[in-house]
Symmetry: C2
Subunit: 348 residues, 2 copies
């Protein structure tokens, strides 16, 4: 389908554009009252995520309010381990949990191979319906979690502050860890390619916990597998842009730029001018306003948006985004201020 | 008092030494059964922290088990806001809390000036007793929290994942924020100088949450004030080494090295070779093993210790430490493996 507003795609291809495109991580989410209504109807998170009509509805909600340059399919990074039988559930205030976490190498061996087309059909149905409803207005993004980030939840059995179990698994059972990461990588390649076949115009890999690893461990246990994912997507879909986002990795950006990824997400702790220096124009950069700026007064938001645009400077390849997702207690109108500021200042 | 093992102090002065000194953040803590015994006797954390005999006992406990090159006085970074009347208390599993958080500029104005000598006499008594009991065996470290890190707890009323309130305070009430940071800075200078007068041979500023800020905000709201603290200590105690530790700041290390600090703490997400490059030999560097390595098998710990030593490479100015504190569920004997490995490999 022809995309009417293809500003994001042109930026990801490092083409010269009329202004900086903007989309926001977790732009579909709890900060929107209309999202909370759907969520209340669904009862729980996974019921909503498994319902294609609801997925389509919440994916498109932010676009009705704001002139965004992309939408991202509403789903969760943990769909793959859930499809592998770990039993994903959510506890309010504690985040995601798994009924059957991975403890031993035998647990890894016992994980079934999954086929995204059938085992994650609900995601594909959501994408198809959303793509159809969207009618090419803006690009539709697909996504997956990085293998390392998925491993943390699978081994910890949920969220963690220290990643004590997940890192122990890497250090003490590295053979099992690599086996698990490879299984997740293979599943993710298939998953993203199926998402593209179902209507995704670009894809992002979320490595939320890449920044918890030392540079050496990051390279061995996270980046290597993300590189495989990029290669696996490019092998089937060479034209589809791939964005890698490892939160909190700063200097590893240089190594990330050596993959065939088209764009790297950058959080707010790395100045975009430094990120450009490290990545040497090989990739587009996406980011990087501190989400907490959305708690600020309107004029402060405008000032900080301008600062981010200025820190990127002249030239192609900047996608405006936050350095992390929206928070549930943010006011929707603040996002409007942000988007208008991006459009206003980046055109100048 | 003459220090018998002054390896740490010589390293902080960038002198050539026979091996790499080692001490560990939170080496006195819950992972030690003898600590848990004292804590149980005390009943609650602050009762223990306010009792000089208990402070002396738990400060020296790790030195009885391990051939450490320094001890650090047992206390808490939140003693200053507590002395200012915010009412510090601890809830098990939730960390520190304040009964009266800071909300408005009027709250900042109402904070009393404190005199560390009298208002934090219990800290000084603990230092004096520990210094006397230690008899100069190894250096005794004093410490404080950074003004920004203290502000986060004072404004949030406790711990936070996003620092939404603390960052909103910086962005929306920046005049009040600077006023608060200045009050905390002035109190911290007095506090550290009093600690030195009471027996501390070196001091460390813990900026646990510096890494949550963008580089621009880090410089304005955290580093500026830590620099004042370094200057304030050096003005009274030019011979006393000052260590700054901002967790998760990576590239800001270059700016930190421009203060008069003697040493910078480095967490495990920045390779020490990069940290040396950024700081150009101006300061010693302290770190930077991922604490989670202490969950690993003995031979993995040895290998990872060697890797950290190798990443620093040849030359003066490396203090071995973890990149963050010990965790309560760690096994004491693992720390012994680490310390022996540091001594063995750094002598070679």
């Amino acid at each position: 389908m022809k995309i009417k507003n293809d500003l994001l795609l042109r930026t990801l291809r490092l083409e010269k554009t009329e202004r900086t495109p903007v989309w926001i991580m977790r732009q579909a989410g709890r900060y929107l009252p209309e999202y909370r209504e759907v969520r209340a109807q669904a009862g729980d998170f996974m019921t909503m995520a498994r319902n294609p009509e609801m997925v389509c509805e919440v994916t498109l909600q932010p676009l009705r309010r704001f002139p965004l340059d992309a939408v991202i399919i509403f789903s969760d990074i943990l769909t793959i381990p859930d499809a592998m039988g770990l039993g994903l559930y959510f506890v309010t205030g504690e985040g995601p949990k798994f009924k059957k976490p991975i403890i031993t190498e035998a647990d890894v061996d016992a994980l079934p191979e999954i086929d995204a087309k059938t085992d994650l059909k609900y995601v594909m149905d959501g994408l198809k319906l959303t793509s159809k409803t969207l009618e090419g207005e803006v690009p539709l993004l697909g996504f997956c979690g990085s293998p390392w980030t998925l491993l943390t939840y699978m081994v910890e059995g949920g969220s963690s502050k220290t990643f004590a179990k997940a890192k122990s698994f890497l250090l003490n059972q590295s053979k099992a860890a690599h086996k698990l990461l490879q299984k997740l990588t293979d599943a993710s390649v298939d998953y993203l390619n199926q998402q593209i076949a179902s209507g995704a115009n670009a894809v992002q890999v979320f490595d939320s916990w890449g920044g918890s690893l030392s540079p050496v461990m990051y390279e061995e246990f996270s980046l290597t597998y993300m590189k495989q994912i990029v290669d696996g997507v490019k092998a089937v879909n060479p034209e589809i842009p791939v964005i890698l986002f490892s939160k909190g990795v700063q200097h590893n950006l240089a190594k990330m730029a050596e993959t065939r990824a088209d764009c790297l997400g950058v959080d707010w702790t790395t100045d975009l001018s430094l990120a450009r220096e490290l990545t040497k124009g090989k990739v587009a950069l996406q980011g990087n306003l501190d989400p907490c700026v959305l708690y600020a007064q309107d004029e402060v938001i405008e000032k900080e948006v301008k600062r981010v645009l200025d820190s990127y400077g002249e030239g192609v390849g900047h996608v405006f985004n936050l350095g992390h997702g929206m928070h549930p207690d943010m006011k929707p109108e603040k996002l409007g201020i942000l988007i208008n500021a991006v459009k206003k200042y980046s055109q100048q």
